[in-house]
Every structure is written in structure tokens, then in C-alpha cells.
């Protein structure tokens, strides 16, 4: 009786997560990419990654989370941060000041590719927060499953 209940609960939660995870991922990338046009931006989109990892853990257990490679996330975080500094320094290199928007007149107002270096900096911050907070969630979930396995 108990085993049956557990199996039904597993099926229900994994169906629910199947429905929610793609929606959350699409929302995440939409918020990051439209950061210069609507409320949102790098951080707000990146934090949703914790929700994605938690949904995968709830629906499928720790075995699916284990396969996410922490090394790639760690390196991506560093590379995204370096890109942020590079985009900010572009202003100094091309004759202006730090953080100057040198691609000022690119695209029309309201387009996706419109506000020059602001868009690029936004994407870099979004990538950094996504990977950084995601790694935090992975560590916490690992410790949680370790405690569950011990007890």
C-alpha cells in the first residue's frame, strides 16, 4: 500500500515538473534577452535557474541533478565575468570613457538588438548569475541528499 502511494506521488510530481520546466526555461531566457526593453535583466532572469534545478530535483530525484557538470558551470561563470569587463573597457579603447555606449546607434528603438553595449553587458551578467546561482543550488541539493541518505 505504501509503495503504491509513493509510486503514484512520483508520477504526479514528475508530470507536473514535465509541464513546468520548459515554461520556466523559456521565461528565463526571455527575461534575460529583453532586459533593455522591459523590467527584468540579468539578475532577475538568472535567479530562475534555482527554480529549474529545484523542479528537476523534485520531479526526478537526485540522480538527474548529479549529471549536471559543475566544472563547465564554474568556467562559464568566469568567462562571462571577463566578458563584462571587456565590454566595459571597449569604451576606453575606442576613445571615450569607461562603460560608454559606443554602439549607440545600432538598430531601432524597441528591437531586440538595439541598445548597443547595454544589451551585451546584460547578456554577460545574465550568464554569470545563471551559472553562479545554479552552482549554489547544486551544492545545497547535494548536501540535502547526503543528509537524506545518511538518515
Amino acid at each position: 500500500m505504501n509503495n503504491e502511494n509513493r509510486k503514484i506521488k512520483h508520477v504526479i510530481t514528475s508530470c507536473g515538473c514535465d509541464f513546468l520546466i520548459p515554461l520556466t526555461l523559456v521565461l528565463l531566457f526571455d527575461i534575460i534577452l529583453h532586459g533593455h526593453l522591459s523590467p527584468g535583466g540579468g539578475f532577475q532572469g538568472g535567479v530562475l535557474m534555482v527554480a529549474v534545478f529545484t523542479l528537476i530535483y523534485l520531479g526526478y530525484g537526485y540522480d538527474s541533478i548529479k549529471t549536471v557538470k559543475g566544472g563547465i558551470l564554474h568556467d562559464t561563470e568566469g568567462i562571462a565575468s571577463i566578458f563584462y569587463v571587456v565590454f566595459a573597457m571597449l569604451g576606453v579603447v575606442y576613445g571615450g570613457y569607461f562603460c560608454e555606449n559606443i554602439l549607440f546607434r545600432s538598430g531601432n528603438i524597441g528591437d531586440l538588438w538595439s541598445s548597443g553595449t547595454i544589451f551585451l553587458m546584460n547578456a554577460a551578467v545574465g550568464a554569470k548569475v545563471l551559472t553562479g546561482v545554479g552552482m549554489l543550488a547544486l551544492y545545497m541539493l547535494a548536501i540535502l541528499s547526503q543528509i537524506r541518505k545518511d538518515s
Binding site: S38, G41, F43, V47, G110, L136, I143
Partner: protein, 116 residues
């Protein structure tokens, strides 16, 4: 309406500090710190309020002398402050986990090996 926001935010800050002082559990100290941060966030966002203003999203042609919008700077400051609050919570909870592993207790009256 707006005075009520200010009173509520100072009450939250005071409540947060009170929690850190009187509760003897480490997790409650972290919660108190978070409550104080949320109180400051409420204060920041209430300062930018202009009665009857709209959202400050305009393009080049739409903005005129008569456009009446709320102050956008405190909104940016609030977002930054929310990020910082989240980071403080994350770091302090990691320290609480390691403290529990190494001392075996979460009582602040027991965790006092460095004193005098």
C-alpha cells in the same frame, strides 16, 4: 498611504534587529538579518513614489513636459539591494551549516569558544 509605508519599513528594521538580539538560535539570527534587509527595501521603494504617476518606461518620442512618472532611480537601487540580501542569506546559511557540522549545536550561547 505613503506614511504607512514608512512606518512599516522602520518597524520591520527594528523587528529585524530585535530578532538578532533576543533569539538564541543561529537560523533565527539569519532570519532577523533578512527581515531588516526587507525593511530597507520597502523604505527605498516607497521614497520613489509619486502619487498618480505611471511606470517610467518611455521611448524617445513619447516623453513630453507633461509626462508624470514615478522615480526610476529607487527601483534600480531596490533591485541591487534585493540581490545583496539574497547573497547575505546564502553566505550566512552556508556558515550555519558548517557551524552545525563542527560544533554540533545551533545555540549561540554554546558557540563562544572565542571570548575575553
Amino acid at each position: 498611504m505613503i506614511t504607512f509605508n514608512y512606518i512599516a519599513s522602520f518597524f520591520l528594521i527594528a523587528l529585524g534587529f530585535y530578532t538578532i538580539i533576543t533569539k538564541f538560535n543561529l537560523v533565527k539570527a539569519v532570519i532577523g538579518l533578512s527581515i531588516a534587509d526587507y525593511g530597507v527595501n520597502l523604505l527605498i521603494i516607497s521614497i520613489g513614489y509619486v502619487p498618480g504617476g505611471t511606470a517610467p518606461i518611455f521611448t524617445q518620442g513619447e516623453i513630453t513636459q507633461l509626462s508624470y512618472f514615478v522615480d526610476p532611480i529607487p527601483q534600480a537601487l531596490t533591485l541591487t539591494s534585493i540581490v545583496i540580501g539574497a547573497c547575505v542569506t546564502a553566505m550566512s546559511m552556508s556558515l550555519v551549516m558548517k557551524l552545525h557540522e563542527s560544533y554540533g549545536t545551533l545555540d549561540t550561547r554554546e558557540i563562544r569558544r572565542l571570548h575575553g
